[in-house]
Symmetry: C2
Subunit: 186 residues, 2 copies
DNA sequence: GTACGACTTGACCGATTGGTACAAGAAACC
DNA sequence: GGTTTCTTGTACCAATCGGTCAAGTCGTAC
């Protein structure tokens, strides 16, 4: 146990970018070894479960990030819209205004969904629920709050698809602004 | 040249469903032969370019469908909103209320985007442009029309992601209704 | 300095990938 | 029936896939 355990987090971050760019099937072990700089042995030492465990770690990492930076602030929101505003800012920063794409979204559309059903479902469900809760506390009736929340989350995901397809980050920025405006935010 | 050319269209339709379910990388030739019922020989006879040509044919097929059923009606719209209404209906029918996912969207997020950049870009660009045009003729100023069009197309794509992730077609139906309402439609 | 053990490496494994070659089969004309 | 033309299944190919593992490397403890 000599080693300082090093950089599991760094590896996971690198893996996240790889899965983001190539999807689950598209990320071959050779790409992974090339872009992480680690040999297969090291990878299987860190993730004995292979690619599936790597992807799981990435999903857990993302889930953790969103939980602390997005979901929990929304959960703790009092009746104001500050947390919702903050969510938009965090989202824009995280996705780099549409230059980055959502790994969970990529998995959701691809074959990988069947392997990670629960984590994919959980991520989006948590997001919608947290946002709906905050909107409800801000005065909307429950049904409206949920509908608005779904529209925002779907809008963000769709904007990512469009931004990537058109190779135009403007779409993402504009859509985010429209969604914000739709909730009555400046 | 004896054969009546048979069923290329049928094969393309089957291929579309395969790529829809598995993405480009995920659709292996063995799945394709299994689900189309055709041997490799037949497939390479129909599509000498292999998987790439199959995907291209699928994209072209989809593009054709949307052109005749969505884009052109929008282009020919007079000042009314009937064509926009029709678009929503056609979209809901095509995506089976979210049970089906958008092949072009799947390609856009995955590795395949780099192989089919132009077709992916073209599809979404045509959709946004056609819708924006119809909205503009219905009285919106150009910038607003384009923003609204982007929001609708992004919203649809995002709703597909969400519906698939949550395994809940309700999300798709509700989002479509909200988007319609946002344009002032009943 | 030596022994230990966590970590890394890269050759190697069988399975599967996309793609090719080709012989057998089926359909239309004579 | 014979011939020609096209279509089909299948055996095969090199390359690559995800994954394994024996052979090391190297920092630390003694």
């Amino acid at each position: 146990m000599a080693r300082p355990l090093a950089d599991r987090q760094d590896v996971i971050s690198a893996l996240a970018e790889i899965f983001r760019d190539h999807g689950f099937e598209g990320a071959s072990l050779s790409t992974i070894t090339a872009r992480t700089g680690l040999g297969k042995g090291s990878l299987y030492n860190l993730f004995p479960g292979g690619k599936a465990e790597m992807a799981e770690a990435v999903l857990a990492h993302i889930d953790g990030w969103f939980r602390t930076h997005v979901f929990e602030p929304l959960d703790q929101a009092d009746g104001g819209m500050a947390a919702v505003q903050a969510m938009f800012q965090a989202t824009d920063a995280y996705f780099r205004s549409g230059r980055r794409v959502c790994v969970v979204g990529v998995f959701a559309l691809g074959d990988a969904r069947d392997l990670f059903t629960e984590q994919v479902r959980g991520y989006f469900a948590a997001w919608v629920t947290a946002l709906a809760g905050a909107l409800e506390r801000a005065g909307r009736d429950p049904a409206q709050a949920r509908a608005d929340a779904e529209e925002v989350v779907a809008g963000i995901q769709g904007a990512l698809v469009l931004a990537r397809a058109l190779d135009d980050t403007g779409v993402f920025t504009r859509t985010l602004a429209r969604l914000r405006a739709g909730l009555g935010l400046a």
